[in-house]
Amino acid sequence: MKGCRILAAMVLFVLIFSMTAAADSINTTVDVNEGIVLNGDIHLEVLDVGTNWGSYAKLKFYSYKDAGGKTESIYMGDVPTTYTSGTFMKIEVTLDSISYDTAFLMIESTTSLKISDRYGFEGEDETEKEKQKPITVPKLGITRTFDTNRAEQGQTIRTTLTIRNTGNGTATNIVLDEDTITGAYKDGCPSTIDDIAAGETKRISYDLRIVDAQPGTYELSPAILNYESESGATYSSESSSSILEILPEEVRIPELEISIDSVKGIITCGDEFPVTVTITNVGNATTGKVHVKSDLPADVRVVDGDLEPEYESIKPGDSEEYDVSLRAYEQGKHTIEMQVMWGDSEAAASFEFWAEKSGLEQYYLYILAAIPILLLLLWVIKRRREYSY
């Protein structure tokens, strides 16, 4: 009793001190079955204190315009518990510590706080108390993660739901309610989840197949868990919403380019000259069978090599190159046209060159014409010499 008096004296001292202190934060002790009135508006009553998964105090809040108020257990170390009265006075209460029937509370507000009254009330009887003693509360938290937030049509996103029971009771009858975007289908995602014991973390993974979703950026609504405690109380928790970007489906097609290269400058008629044909797959898919067709001028002949080879396939980025030797017989401008065909597609290239006859060939008519003249001249010279003395 003497202890109680000393404690009472201390409470009185603190109360007096608190009442006199004009601040937005107050520390106070409140006994079990004792209540305080803050600023003549908010009633804060301590219903119970104890230790279960940590020290806690069960508090009841109500006010003049919020007669129902709320009852909540706050734990040491938890974030402040907020209560807003019917007159919009807001307080935040943190449990600092407990003794066997006293809770040490820190109360904060944006307005000045004053304990305007302190009163006692009739507590629950032991029997009722005993009945409520085994109450346990599961508390599931759920987070949703994707292996990638960007996906193309046909791609599969690995989705992982991490569910953690931070309560003190086992969560049962857990039902997962999770929407998805149109055109995406979940594969292996359970609609119900096995019980999760307090402190247990469960991970559920499933594939989200993007089948025919329209490209764009989607905000997936939160995944909702509806569950019950062992006592049958129902609870609900949800994850945060997620952003998922569906990329346009990449078209994968082969694309061939053909190029023709040869010697620069003028080709001499009748001389062989090399031609290099290069076929490159600049697309992003492997071709099927590739055919090469050529269109040569009438007077151009293939001397060596195959000008129209076939290839079974050409991989993206790969090139096929081959050399042939050609020979042009007529003078003038020539155009070699090449076509490469694959599937239903084709590409073409052309190469122009100028052929000229060699000096001898070009002027052989003149030379031919000059020969008799030369012979005649030589003959004349010879005859002149024969007759020169």
Partner: protein, 366 residues
């Protein structure tokens, strides 16, 4: 085929030889030699021989290899004595050059009787050829203009005498003086015309001798003709005009205007050869025979040959003479010229001796 050698001696002989070579090219003109070959009617070899290299250089249609220079400065200066000496010094070389041409069936030696090299070489060479070759040698001797000078006249006189003395197969005379009056042109043109005329008649003769004829005359007949009379003769020629008969054509070749040397062939003719060439349609053989028979009565033996070729009839007549009055005139003129020359020289010598006599007893004083 006859192998015939034609030698042109001295400037005159060289030029007639050159004309023969030119005519052998046919009607191709100046440039024929550059694109054509000579078409001799037989196998003809020609050599132009001269001591004057400039005369050889002037030839246009004779092959260089057929020009033979007898080395003696630039000619013998119309001095036959020097010419003879030069020939003697070089005759082996000359004969060797001739010998390179092979053997011959007939040899023509063409020379002027007036010049130096030709007139001095000809008699000596004919003599050498007679000894070397068993072939008839006919000399074509060209007589000079009478006004060319006393040396040429005396050369002609002595040369002709020596040629006759060689007893060659015959001498055919070509008289520049005579032909000049028919050419009626300047000296150079006259020379050219005379040379061409002479060349054509020689070639005509060669063609006839080497061809198969309708009526045959041959080399043997030629030898017989050339041995007639004094062995000296000449040639005549006539080409039928439109409307001419073969008789008038034959007789035309006897006219003085067609002869190379002035002669009265009807009066002085010893033997003759007639070569008639022309299209068969013009050749009335009976008339030819009859005409020849008539001529034979006046001229003596006349050999005839008829050669069928396209064109109007042409007749070459070749005579030897029993008398050559024109030569007598020439010798008279020549003798006068020699005497005049001798007198002039003696007079000059006397004048010189008189001039020297002025200093006979004197000595030069310095």
């Amino acid at each position: 085929m006859l192998n015939i050698l034609i030698l042109g001696l001295g400037q005159c002989g060289n030029r007639i030889l050159d004309a023969i070579n030119r005519e052998a090219f046919g009607s191709g003109g100046t440039f024929a030699k550059y694109y054509s070959r000579q078409k001799f009617p037989a196998s003809v070899k020609t050599i132009a021989i001269n001591t004057a290299v400039n005369d050889l250089k002037e030839l246009k249609n004779t092959l260089a290899k057929d020009r033979f220079h007898v080395p003696h400065l630039h000619g013998v200066g119309a001095n036959r004595n020097i010419g003879k000496q030069v020939f003697e010094e070089n005759k082996e070389m000359i004969l060797e050059e001739i010998d390179k041409r092979g053997s011959f069936d007939l040899i023509f030696v063409i020379t002027s009787t007036a010049g130096g090299s030709g007139s001095s070489f000809a008699p000596l060479l004919v003599g050498e050829l007679k000894r070397t070759y068993n072939a008839p040698i006919i000399c074509i001797a060209v007589l000079p203009f009478r006004a060319e000078g006393s040396i040429f006249l005396q050369n002609t006189a002595f040369c002709l005498r020596e040629l006759v003395a060689t007893k060659s197969s015959g001498i055919l005379l070509v008289d520049n003086q005579y032909l000049k009056k028919y050419s009626g042109e300047d000296i150079k043109s006259a020379y050219d015309k005379i040379n061409t005329t002479t060349a054509r008649r020689i070639l005509f003769l060669i063609e006839a001798l080497n061809s198969e004829m309708l009526m045959v005359t041959d080399l043997g007949d030629l030898k017989t003709v050339m041995s007639g009379g004094i062995g000296v003769g000449t040639m005549g020629f006539y080409e039928a005009s439109k409307g001419s008969t073969i008789k008038s054509t034959i007789l035309g070749s006897f006219k003085p205007s067609g002869l190379l040397f002035p002669a009265n062939v009807y009066k002085d003719g010893a033997r003759a050869m007639l070569i008639i060439k022309g299209d068969k349609k013009y050749l009335d053989l009976d008339l030819v025979t009859k005409t020849v028979e008539e001529l034979s009565k006046e001229v003596g033996q006349v050999f005839k040959g008829v050669l069928v070729k396209k064109g109007r009839p042409k007749v070459l007549s070749l005579f030897t003479l029993n008398a050559v009055p024109e030569l007598e005139k020439l010798y008279t003129v020549a003798a006068e010229a020699i005497r005049f020359e001798m007198e002039k020289r003696e007079k000059s010598k006397k004048q010189l001796d008189n001039a020297f006599a002025h200093i006979e007893d004197l000595e030069p004083i310095y």
